[in-house]
Symmetry: C2
Subunit: 203 residues, 2 copies
DNA sequence: TAGAATATTAAACAGTGTTTAATTAATTTT
DNA sequence: AAAATTAATTAAACACTGTTTAATATTCTA
């Protein structure tokens, strides 16, 4: 046996090839401006073949979406060695912002683009799996901070959402080119400086 | 005379009609999913006519974009009666968030959507006119706050960008449906609660 | 009323995502 | 090994998209 396994593997291979080509093009020219024919051209197959491996364009998008979360999750792994929850929260923010600035198109894919496709699989549960996990670890860090006396008078859920909003706001305004209100001389550092200002506020 | 004026007015009228139809459709089904033929159908004209009044689809988008900033600007007018700059900053945030939540599609148009069209007119200056004015009044309020001793150790530009990021983050995560990580029971109020948490942090 | 200018349209172009039926290639069965 | 079956792949079509063109209808001017 193993024959059907090999067949399976070979099928996976073309699927990987499609995904890789799609990723390159998506991050190069954007999702909307990448056509199925573009992807097909790049892998030197006919457009139709893509539909044997993916239901539609959205499913390709979704696959890359998950890839992005895996990559971000891996970068977050080092957090486990940081004992102080406030310190951990800050490093978390730094990593998040760094990821977004280094992979703006992937970040766009993950957090900015319209997302009628996240609950493709569990549409009944009304939940967003990848994001839910990431948000949970943020909330837990904040709960730990509260337990240690940081942020008196605050409450974890709203605080967590607010913290996430700060980092998301910082990077998404930049990615979607709303930073042009800032002096050219300061524009390239404004995201990091904004993050520092927030940390200063946190204490 | 006045004849050419009337002609001018009549021309403006159809332009207004197109704009109104486009606005309805854009806010109803989104910009991308509204076609020129959709707009033409709605006003009972042929698609081609639109190109006699607008260069292309982007120019329609841009016109609505400006409309949105005018509306937001008007809502901000009451700020002038608030003396205390910190209080003014908070009300500013409240108005901003309220506007975004009441006009999510317009907000999307103004602050989230890809914007290769903002510097359509002054591409050389690399500036974003409408946004620049709004950001300036935010920065001035913060400068006033700094002068009165609020936010010691902070600096206006980065602080202003951070404050803007908070409100933008709060509403844009909600508009782009990333709030599904939040408990359903709290989801509808999380934006306001996040804003309150930020104000609490400001002092 | 004839001629010029303008407003409006129908038709076409090149592109899109997706589906279909036909074709080629590989595998299994006889 | 040859025939039958199954899977992989394609070419062609469908109904759309934004935009341009040349032709038509309308209005204004002289």
């Amino acid at each position: 046996m193993g024959i059907t396994d090999r067949k399976e593997r070979e099928k996976e291979e073309l699927k990987e090839t499609i995904l890789k080509a799609a990723k390159t093009l998506f991050l190069e020219k954007g999702v909307e401006k990448t056509s199925m024919r573009n992807i097909a051209d790049r892998i030197e197959y006919s457009p139709g073949i893509i539909y044997h491996y993916f239901k539609d364009k959205n499913e390709i998008f979704h696959a890359l979406h998950q890839e992005g979360f895996k990559a971000l999750g891996e970068k977050m792994e080092i957090l486990s060695v940081i004992r102080d929850p406030l310190e951990r929260l800050k490093v978390m923010g730094k990593i998040y912002v760094k990821f977004a600035m280094e992979n703006p198109d992937m970040y766009d894919l993950m957090f900015i683009k319209e997302a009628p496709l996240c609950h493709v699989f569990d549409s009944e549960k009304e939940e967003w799996i990848e994001g839910g996990g990431a948000f949970n670890s943020l909330r837990m860090t904040i709960e730990e901070s509260l337990a240690q006396g940081y942020f008196p008078g605050h409450e974890s859920e709203s605080l967590a959402y607010m913290v996430w909003s700060v980092v998301h706001g910082l990077v998404s305004l930049h990615i979607r080119k709303r930073c042009e209100v800032i002096d050219l001389t300061r524009r390239e550092n404004i995201v990091d400086e904004g993050l520092d200002a927030f940390f200063k506020l946190l204490g």
